[in-house]
Amino acid sequence: MGRGSRDYALWSIGIALVLVFALLPVLWLISLSLKPPAAITDQSFIPTEFSLDNYKSLFEGGIDDSPFIKPLINSIGIALITTVISITLASFAAYAIARLEFPGKRLILAGALAIAMFPPISTVGPLFDMWRSLGLYDTWLGLIIPYLTFSLPLAIYVLVAFFREIPWDLEQAAQVDGATPSQAFRKVILPLAAPGVFTAAILVFIFAWNDFLFAISLTSSDASRTVPAALAFFTGESSFTQPTGSIAAAAVVVTVPIIVFVLFFQRRIVSGLTAGAVKG
């Protein structure tokens, strides 16, 4: 069938376009990071010589002198702690919203939605002032608190959408069959809820990992500066050279693990991102 093969050709072109669109900047960063410093301005998309000098410069000097190791630890630590707290609080709230009838339920959902639309820049000034007087400026906690606030709406919506799908009657059925309430929760409900919780956790982690505005506004040193903020303050060998190679290498280090992770859990992420998009 002529029509069929033409369709295949069209789809192939469409898919190829999407692939190039998505991958181009990533491949470009990898290419830049592998160029030796002398060849960084050769303007070619594919490196002609390869070197790991840019990666070595990131980790040179160990934890105290490296411009990258401390921000990396800060980023991972802050994002992980944010994720754990946010998911815990959101799970409690989502359980109540999905399972219980109570006045104020719609108000909480509407409030969460409003906060998802809230412009973070409007809170930066007050937080800067408050954190300085409370001693939270330039600390992990100083970043974790705003990340918690702005990730909770996302976590609550995703979890509510998942929790509504859980057949909660199974819990009672298990108890009728002789399980204790705690057994029924651990052996029946927890395994059913785990995929939703995990999905929400990935989305919250990516949110905290990505933030730049709070990270440059509420930190001033390596004590709490995360990778995105540290990248903006990277300096070159002299004040005239831009540290393109080191930035590219650092970008690859923080990007590749996330990409692998995202690709591995793509189904979950897609369902999480679109949770409630069709039916709230």
């Binding site: 219980l100 809230f118 606030t149 505005l213 506004s217």
Partner: protein, 304 residues
């Protein structure tokens, strides 16, 4: 008789304890959400009616609406406001078209659906700052490969002019956020009954007619929700501009203006006035979508 008299009391006691449990479960999350939004925005309003410059801590005091008048009377605010709206409208429009195309590819794919979905998620997983650097290095006259491409002048200085800078900024923003748009649109697309297309085909409707008469009207709610979230997100644009130009060549957005006043110049009074004005703009955009276009937020979700 006794039983029926007791029943309502028992059940109302039960509902009351259920309400209490529900509120106890929700309280921590609600408090955490209010702590960094309601209180700070209130505090921002208080700061915005005072003269507070941390570089001159001795001067100060209540100045009423002077800060607002200073901001609204400055050319810089209106330049930045124009930039922000210009970037918002262009990026969201391009994303809507591109996102719809990608959603259709994913929905109707004969093969390779997984490949498309996988590649579309890559921009979502990348830090905005990292993506901004990638595009900046690509267009930079010294390191970039773009000027080496055919049809582009070798010495084109992309970041030397206002609208050429905007072109690169828009490209980076579109690349980063189109996947989110595409996924939201795809979620709306899959709910459309396939039978409608078959029936239209039988009646002789062309592919374009099927798209404009069936797909678009039925997807209107999903499109509006996606547009609302992306529009509000685009209005807050900060990371990409900060990395690429820091506001040089008149490319500042209102968020950059707020940051410069608050954090770089430590002028909390003026900066807070800018913050409150941004908050009002966001509120008005949301209001326009909900009341003006009839966006149903019950069907919505917070942005990713």
């Amino acid at each position: 008789m006794e039983a029926s008299a007791q029943k309502p009391a028992v059940s109302s006691q039960r509902t009351r304890s259920e309400h209490r449990l529900a509120w106890m479960l929700c309280a921590p999350a609600v408090l955490a959400m209010l702590a960094v939004t309601a209180y700070p925005i209130g505090y921002a309003i208080v700061l915005s009616v005072q003269q507070i410059d941390l570089r001159f801590p001795d001067e100060g005091g209540f100045v009423g609406l002077d800060n607002y008048l200073a901001v609204l009377g400055s050319e810089l605010w209106w330049t930045d406001f124009f930039n922000t709206v210009f970037l918002m409208v262009t990026t969201v429009a391009i994303e809507l078209v591109l996102g719809m195309a990608i959603a259709l590819v994913m929905h109707r794919a004969i093969f390779g659906r997984g490949v498309v979905r996988t590649s579309v998620l890559i921009p979502y997983g990348i830090i905005t700052v990292v993506a901004a650097f990638a595009w900046q290095f690509a267009f930079a006259p010294d390191t970039g490969f773009v000027n080496n491409l055919p049809l582009i002048a070798d010495d084109m200085d992309w970041f030397g002019g206002r609208f050429s800078s905007f072109a690169v900024i828009i490209m980076a923003e579109v690349w980063k956020t189109t996947p989110f748009m595409a996924l939201l649109l795809l979620a709306g697309l899959v709910t459309i009954d396939k039978g409608l297309y078959e029936a239209a085909k039988v009646d002789g409707a062309s592919a374009w007619q099927r798209f404009t008469r069936i797909t678009l009207p039925l997807m209107k709610p999903a499109i509006l929700v996606a547009l609302l979230f992306r529009t509000l997100d685009a209005f807050r644009v900060f990371d990409t501009i900060f990395i690429m130009t820091r506001g040089a060549q008149d490319t500042e957005s209102v968020s950059i203006l707020g940051f410069n006043q608050l954090i770089s110049r430590l002028n909390l009074g003026l900066g807070s006035a800018v913050s409150v004005l941004i908050f009002i703009c966001v509120f008005l955009i949301a209001f326009l979508f909900v009341k003006g276009f009839g966006t149903k937020l019950d069907e919505g979700r917070p942005g990713g």
